[in-house]
């Protein structure tokens, strides 16, 4: 399980599976539910039960000495039928009672408490922790896809604001003085079942002829090994 941040040390968890329910977001041990019902970030989803769309358990905790969180987003990328890559952003959790529209976005900004002159901000907006379950509303089981999470902080002073205050200088007007720090996770991958059937489950027709086949058991092993390491 790997994710990066632009600096702050927020904690992010991200699991994908077929059976996450909204109630899982209230579980007292989200990570346990995550591993029981799904795979962690970096994992593969590859056996879509008929008629089901992938569901995700997403949670983040702010940096204990950092800024609150504005929102959690899931970014979905997929390979269209025309072979072109596509991407779409979904807001999946937003702080402060804002709503998420039918297009999956929350257009209202969280606000801004940054005092640029003093290079300070307050955690009076945003949320200290966020957790939610999200289901892909536009899932097409025949298309390859990936999903990753962004956890975005409320605006904070950018390094330019700290420098301007410390050195008592004035920055040029085009210099940004605030920023929104964030964390971004490894993706969870979806691959249509049919691509595996060719090699793994139809050995009579494809025996020896499909380069995918010998890889299948190795992937399985790696996946179970990875997820057992993730627990620590």
């Amino acid at each position: 399980m790997t994710y990066a941040t632009t600096g702050p040390r927020m904690i992010v968890r991200f699991f994908g599976g077929w059976d996450f329910e909204p109630g899982d977001a209230n579980n007292r041990l989200p990570a346990r539910v995550g591993y029981t019902k799904g795979v962690p970030m970096g994992g593969d989803l590859n056996t879509a039960p008929s008629g089901k769309a992938p569901t995700f358990l997403v949670a983040a905790l702010k940096d204990p000495i950092g800024a609150n969180l504005d929102r959690l987003q899931i970014i979905k990328g997929w390979l269209g039928k025309d072979g072109q890559t596509q991407e779409r952003i979904y807001d999946v959790a937003v702080a402060g009672g804002r709503t998420i529209g039918p297009d999956g976005r929350s257009r209202a900004p969280v606000g801004n408490t940054v005092d640029v002159a003093n290079a300070t901000w307050t955690n009076t907006i945003g949320a200290g922790e966020m957790i939610t379950v999200w289901k892909d509303p536009d899932f097409d089981p025949t298309l390859r896809a990936f999903y990753y999470v962004r956890a975005i902080e409320i605006p904070t002073p950018r390094w330019t604001a700290y420098d301007a205050k410390y050195y008592g200088t004035k920055m040029a007007s085009e210099v940004p003085m605030t920023t929104t720090e964030r964390a971004y996770t490894s993706p969870i991958w979806y691959r249509p079942e049919t691509e595996f059937f060719k090699g793994a489950f139809a050995p009579i027709h494809f025996a020896g002829g499909d380069p995918l086949r010998p890889l299948w058991p190795i992937w399985q092993e790696e996946r179970s090994r990875d997820s057992s390491q993730d627990r620590h």
């Binding site: 209230n26 007292r28 983040a60 905790l61 702080a95």
Partner: protein, 224 residues
């Protein structure tokens, strides 16, 4: 081969002429390098081997350098600032009363809010606690008593009541388990000593006069 010889001659010519012109004198890189070489010479510790007594004495003089740090095993009941908002303080008062009656830690966590990292933490050092909950929390929890609910301790996430199950104090390890580390430290100390001795000896050959800082004078001159 011819090329190598040519290059050597070229370097030698430039080096001699450069030194003759005094180019090495005000060059900070060369000065540092020469200083470093002097320090290396002073620090040559080849063949120096500490005795058993010396190692034991060193370990005794600096126990904190080799001791393992204090570790805490605790549970917490979490009140989320995000979930509770302005009610958090009142909820904390109520919870304090509830917990005062609870001597055992079991199931008390259910009084509070879910915490992403869980309700029980095993054998964390103070820096690990600080990384999860922040410095202030780590400082405060290191002073709590074992075996009963205490708090609330504030963190960046909200308020926490804590139940300290176990505090394993940092202990001084026996020499055998840290021998290599003690030896390294001992050698390092001899190295610094030797360097300092040489420096003192050489420094005594000079009469050193440090002039008072002239910054102010320069500024007032600049103003006129």
């Amino acid at each position: 081969m011819h090329g190598l010889v040519e290059d050597y001659i070229r370097e030698e010519v430039f080096y001699r002429e450069g030194r003759a012109a005094g180019l090495d004198r005000d060059d900070v890189v060369i000065r540092r390098r020469v200083r470093q070489k002097m320090e290396f010479l002073a620090e040559d510790m080849t063949g120096l081997e500490p005795s058993e007594e010396q190692l034991a004495a060193h370990l005794q003089s600096y126990p904190e350098r080799f001791a393992s740090s204090e570790r805490l095993t605790f549970r917490h009941v979490f009140l989320s600032a995000t979930r509770r908002g302005v009610d958090m303080e009142n909820d904390a008062k109520q919870l304090a009363n509830q917990l005062a009656d609870a001597t055992a830690a079991e199931d008390a966590a259910a009084f509070g809010d879910p915490f992403l990292l869980g309700e029980a933490f095993g054998s964390l050092s103070q820096s690990e606690v600080a990384r999860i909950f922040g410095d202030n929390f780590a400082k405060q929890i290191s002073t709590v008593e074992q075996g009963r609910w205490q708090g609330p301790i504030p963190s960046g996430f909200g308020l926490h009541f804590v139940f300290l199950d176990e505090r394993s104090y940092g202990h001084s390890p026996p020499l055998d388990s840290v021998r290599e580390a003690v030896k390294k430290e001992w050698l390092n100390e001899r190295r610094l000593e030797a360097e300092q001795t040489l420096y003192r000896k050489l420094r005594d050959r000079y009469e050193i006069i440090v002039e008072a800082a002239r910054v102010k004078t320069v500024r007032s001159e600049a103003k006129q």
